[in-house]
């Protein structure tokens, strides 16, 4: 039971950072809209928007990497994987996390820290705009995101080990899923009759279920 608590704690950390970074999309959207007005209506485009857009987008996806991993939402080639028994899935995952995942993410932390430190040392600025904004903060995102993903990777390795032992994938924290919208839409529908709606909700759950098992490597804690 303790192991599950460790897993949830790590999932929680990844999710917290991921959800915090997720809001950058709203800032990005706002910045883009303001610039559209400035560029096309006021004929006064801003040069550093290029840097800012890049930094918002780059930070967003890097910091959400661990969150996505915690939700098992990184796409898998699941033609064979989905039909394997959980123990087989776990065995493969365990080996591949050590062989494929750890070296690259370790590089992000270890070489990424150097890369960012060099940038801080020379107070590196963007070469894209006049008096470009500093880029050392942005480069620091690399080791930070690497550390978060590595932490989540440890949780995934533990999950695989637990599954190898018990034959069952440990559960994950619940989070919003793509298919949630189906129930929401159906719940408010005025034009779908009750019978269809009942069948539809059942089918939606089924589809959801299938989607989760397909390469999910662990059910969601619903």
């Amino acid at each position: 039971m303790n192991v599950q608590r460790v897993l949830y704690t790590i999932d929680g950390i990844s999710t917290w950072f991921g959800k915090a970074a997720a809001w950058l999309i709203m800032i990005l959207m706002t910045v883009v809209c303001v610039e559209v007005v400035k560029r096309y209506l006021l004929n006064a485009p801003t040069a550093w928007i290029f840097d800012l857009d890049n930094m918002l987008y780059g930070t967003l996806f890097m910091l959400c990497g661990a969150y996505t991993l915690a939700q098992n939402a990184h796409v898998r080639g699941d033609f064979l994987y989905s039909s394997m028994r959980p123990r087989m899935q776990a065995a493969l995952d365990l080996v591949l996390y050590v062989v494929f995942f750890v070296p690259g993410i370790a590089a992000l932390i270890y070489a990424g820290a150097d890369y960012a430190a060099d940038s801080w040392r020379i107070a590196e600025h963007s070469n894209v705009t006049s008096n470009g904004p500093p880029v050392y903060h942005f480069k620091t995102v690399i080791p930070v995101a690497g550390a978060l993903v590595m932490l989540q990777g440890v949780a995934e390795i533990i999950r695989a080990a637990v599954c190898l032992k018990t034959g069952e994938w440990p559960s994950r924290l619940h989070d919003v899923a793509e298919t949630d919208v189906i129930e929401e839409q159906l719940a408010h529908s005025e034009y779908v009759d009750d019978e269809s709606r009942k069948i539809a909700i059942e089918r939606a759950k089924e589809i959801d279920e299938v989607a989760r098992q397909r390469g999910m490597g662990g059910d969601l804690n619903t």
Binding site: N43, P45, Y115, T129, S130, G132
Partner: protein, 345 residues
């Protein structure tokens, strides 16, 4: 394969269709030929290993053994690097600026910059480029005011120059400019010369090219080696490399004259591009604005001051000599090929 042959992995900052990438390949071949195959340099195009703007980091860290590019692409690391390329060069052309680099103290100053930014590279500026066009536009530039509201591409300290002229300027590597114009990120852009501009597809996105500008009137290309790799070479090979750089520097100029002049014609005939001369008031404004910008950087970057003083001291003597001694060839051009020109045969 010769015995004990050394292989080096280079990357350029140019797409493979650009004539600049051809110059990079020329250098690789020259070294290979001169060493009898003992040193093989394989040059990959931009983006193959790292993005064009990431070249210095990659060479410095040893991800690549060397690179082919321009100094201004590392502008963000130290603004003074732009003094090898952007700007009017205090009246010098690119070849004279190389003369300053070799005989007027430039080399030591460049090494100093690279040391301060911790770049472990051995750098060879070479291949003086001819004056670069003001760029490609949707409507010709008739006065400085036409830059207002324009999204424009250039690199290095020219970013500051065109910003001061009223444009919103973003630097992009050569290979990404035309795509950016195509998708509307840029309204106008400059790159470099008739051959490169044509190969990169500028004529597909713009039909107006303005010639003559001071923004990059004296730029060179740069060949760089990872310092550890270079220092590990036998002295004979280092000497061959230095010789190959200088040989290629000259060959590049000859090749450029031949190829640029051909592509200039093709741009007019096949691509239906119209060329205009940048109006003199715009050129004059560039000189004034450039001086204001350098003044601003003098205070923030001590190396900037040192380099400019060195360049000015050399330029004062060299340009006076050049202007006094060298006959203005415009008269000869008009005599033979002008509106009333006559040819003996």
């Amino acid at each position: 394969k010769a015995q004990g042959a050394i292989s080096m992995r280079f990357q350029s900052t140019w797409p493979s269709k650009d004539i600049f990438h051809e110059y990079a390949l020329d250098f690789g071949k020259k070294v290979n030929d001169m060493t009898g195959g003992d040193l093989k340099i394989e040059v990959l195009p931009a983006g193959a290993v790292v993005p064009a703007f990431g070249l210095l980091d990659a060479v410095s860290k040893g991800v690549l053994d060397g690179g082919h590019g321009v100094l201004v692409y590392h502008y963000g690391k130290n603004t003074a690097l732009a003094l090898w390329g952007s700007g009017p060069g205090y009246g010098m052309d690119a070849n004279m600026l190389l003369a300053w680099h070799k005989y007027g103290g430039g080399k030591a100053l460049l090494e100093k910059i690279y040391a301060t930014i911790g770049a472990d590279v051995v750098s060879f500026p070479y291949a003086p480029l001819y004056s670069q066009p003001l760029g490609w536009f949707k409507k010709p530039i008739q006065s400085v005011d036409d830059f207002k509201g324009l999204k424009y591409r250039t690199v290095g300290i020219s970013i500051d120059l065109f910003t001061a002229m009223g444009a919103a300027v973003n630097a992009l590597p050569g290979g990404e400019i035309v795509a950016a114009m195509d998708r509307g990120l840029l309204d106008a852009a400059e790159f470099n010369n008739a051959s490169s501009d044509r190969a990169l597809g500028f004529a597909d996105v713009s039909k107006i090219c303005m010639l003559q500008s001071f923004h990059q009137n004296s730029e060179q290309l740069e060949i760089s080696f990872n310092k550890t790799k270079f220092n590990g070479l036998p002295p004979k090979m280092k000497a061959i490399i230095e010789g190959a750089v200088e040989a290629c520097s000259q060959d590049m100029q000859w090749k450029a004259i031949d190829r640029n002049s051909q592509d200039y014609i093709t741009l007019q005939t096949q691509d239906k591009v119209r060329f205009f001369k940048t109006p003199d008031p715009v050129l004059k404004k560039q000189l004034e604005l450039y001086d204001e910008i350098t003044k601003k950087y003098l205070g923030t970057n001590p190396l900037f001051k040192e380099i400019i003083e060195s360049q000015i001291a050399f330029a004062k003597r060299a340009t006076r000599w050049e202007q006094d001694y060298i006959t203005n060839r415009r008269m000869a051009f008009d005599h033979y090929f002008g509106p009333n020109g006559k040819l003996p045969v």
